[in-house]
């Protein structure tokens, strides 16, 4: 029954597009919220009101207040700056570095390729978080250093993808023709190779956002990321751990914020993968 299959495919394609729009908009909203966080808070997130400390959630304070009477909703909103914005920055950095190294290795080949790929093997040989912990520990805490630590362990994956894609492109007839006709290396890389390989790389980076967000929050939770009083979800949870018995909303509300953001970005990543690669559709 060919008609049935065609119809089914059409429906599937439409549903993927709908999902893409929904999750894309949600992710964009989160991103905008993190950029304009200061203007969205109902209260000043740093103002203390000791008379109203550790108040349970009420309509006035939806997530309650912390031990200094600071409004938790405002703190969670402001925390999105450090959490979402820096995660996206981190993913952008590793995508850029990995792609540059990968394209360079694939294009140039020879000795430098061997050396850089051995180095990336070395990084891949470390169990991820162990190495990130050590790097963050050596550099000392701070959000910037946590980003460097996670970037140091994550770029090789992108370098590998970019390299293999570049190698595949290099063998295609059109690229050989471009080379023969005297195009410069810069032109070949930017005009021919990059546009053709960027798809799979971007899909990988979209799928990585959720994981990176959790790892960054994890480092902050251990005190190796953002430092108080900067509001960051991971460190907020770790600072208020002792309140878990008396005021659980203080500890748990940043957790839910991480959970929801990670979920939105994971859904977006999955949808983009489905959109780009029809074979992976249907929950396989």
């Amino acid at each position: 029954m060919p008609e049935v299959t065609v119809r089914k495919q059409k429906i599937r394609k439409n549903s993927v597009r709908t999902r893409l729009i929904i999750f894309g908009v949600l992710a964009l909203l989160l991103l905008l919220a993190s950029i304009f966080a200061e203007y969205l808070t109902p209260y000043d997130p740093y103002i203390q009101d000791l008379n109203n400390a550790k108040a349970a959630p009420t309509p006035a304070h939806l997530f309650g207040t912390d031990r200094y009477g600071r409004d938790m909703l405002s703190r969670v909103i402001v925390g999105s700056r450090a959490s979402i914005y820096s995660t996206l920055l981190l993913v952008a950095i590793i995508t850029a570095i990995g792609t540059c190294v990968g394209v360079f290795c694939g294009w140039h080949g020879k000795f430098i390729d061997v050396v850089l790929m051995r180095i990336s093997d070395m990084f891949l040989a470390f169990p991820g978080l162990v190495f990130a912990l050590a790097v963050a520990g050596v550099l000392g805490g701070g959000l910037q250093n946590a980003i460097i630590a996670l970037a140091a362990i994550s770029w090789p994956k992108y370098a590998r993808i970019a390299r293999s894609q570049t190698l595949a492109q290099k063998e295609t007839p059109y690229l050989k023709a471009a080379k023969l006709s005297g195009s410069s290396t810069v032109k070949i890389i930017f005009k021919h190779i990059l546009p053709n390989i960027i798809g799979p790389i971007l899909v990988t980076s979209m799928l990585d956002i959720g994981t990176m967000m959790m790892e960054l929050a994890g480092l902050s939770f251990l005190g190796l990321g953002a430092k108080p009083p900067t509001a960051e979800w991971g460190s907020m949870m770790s600072d208020t751990r002792s309140l878990l018995t008396t005021a659980p909303w203080v500890t748990l509300s940043p957790g839910f914020a991480i959970f929801i953001s990670v979920m939105v970005f994971n859904l977006l990543g999955d949808t983009i993968r489905d959109y780009a690669d029809p074979r992976s559709r249907g929950g396989r």
Binding site: F126, G128, A136, F221, T251, V262
Partner: protein, 314 residues
């Protein structure tokens, strides 16, 4: 097979070399060596004393020379002494290792017990309501950071229900329940998906259709053929995850005060106790590489298809 083992062992050498070199270089780059740790907070110290101490500790020698003396020391189990406690680093590390290995082992067992039955269930009920529910749960589990799971479990099991102590009191099975569960939830969410995909792929093979056509009952096909042949892939995937588990224990150990190497590492990082951090990184990486190697070799030894493929190449 023998050739393959030797090939893999030879490949291991540059990797181990790289791991140790990187760990050593990292601690040097940190810019804070033993001297600053010793005299940093004691005000002005005469340059002669610093130079003498430097020579005594061998810090005035070239980098490569220092690296090799450190490497040979490490192989003999001599990794220097902790800046904070003054105790032998290697002994401290080894003393804490069993707790972490126990936690890892328990989490893997729990993961197997959770993810394999649920994954098979989802695959068998492909695209039906059970499958959707399980996929949804696995998705939720994948989006939960493990420290959040840990705090939720604490809130639920210790504070609300009062079943378990909030922090562990020693390395007992009772206090291992919550850390194990935390690690297993994240792992299971991931592995349920992979088990489902593997079993589903096997279910779609021609021999299954053939067996069905010959009237073999569904559960016989499932248990005697499909699960048996999927199991190897599943176990391999699980074994390959030990590395990420070893790294992930650090956060969980420090939340639940589980006295393993992960907590030791986090504590040493706060105290800037570089020799201990170094020991943690190097040994975790070595354990990780070795576990991956053993898994890979076992996989080759157990699966005749791959074994034959390799001997054809050789």
């Amino acid at each position: 097979m023998k050739k393959y083992v030797i090939h893999r062992l030879i490949q291991l050498i540059p990797v181990l070399f790289g791991i140790t070199l990187l760990s050593f270089a990292m601690m040097r780059i940190a810019g804070s060596d033993a001297i600053t740790e010793l005299y940093g907070d004691k005000g002005a110290v005469a340059q002669e004393i610093i130079d003498a101490k430097r020579a005594e500790l061998g810090l005035d020698r070239p980098f490569i020379e220092q690296y090799f003396s450190w490497l040979t020391g490490m192989l003999r189990g001599d990794m220097g002494v902790s800046y904070v406690s003054g105790k032998n680093v290697f002994d401290t590390f080894v003393a804490k290792l069993p707790a972490t290995l126990l936690l890892t082992l328990l989490s893997i067992i729990a993961t197997i017990l959770i993810s394999i039955p649920l994954g098979v269930l989802a695959a068998v009920n492909h695209d039906r309501i059970v499958d959707y529910i399980l996929r949804f749960l696995s998705f939720i589990g994948n989006s939960l950071p493990n420290f959040f799971v840990a705090l939720l479990l604490m809130q639920l099991l210790s504070i609300k229900l009062g079943w378990l102590p909030v922090i562990s009191n020693g390395t007992t099975l009772r206090s291992a329940i919550m850390p194990t569960l935390t690690l297993a939830i994240a792992m299971s969410a991931k592995y349920m998906r992979q088990v489902r995909a593997t079993v589903l792929e096997e279910l779609n093979k021609d021999y299954v259709t053939g067996a069905k056509a010959r009237g073999v009952r569904n559960h016989v096909i499932l248990w005697k053929s499909v699960i048996k042949s999927s199991m190897l892939t599943i176990i391999t995937l699980l074994a390959l995850s030990i590395g990420s588990l070893l790294g992930g224990t650090a956060i969980i150990e420090s939340i639940f005060m589980w006295d393993g190497v992960g907590k030791l590492a986090v504590d040493s990082i706060t105290m800037r106790d570089y020799p201990l951090i170094q020991a943690y990184v190097v040994w975790m990486a070595i354990i990780y590489v070795c576990v991956n190697l053993i898994t890979d070799l076992l996989y080759h030894a157990l699966d005749p298809r791959i074994r034959l493929g390799v001997s054809e190449d050789a």
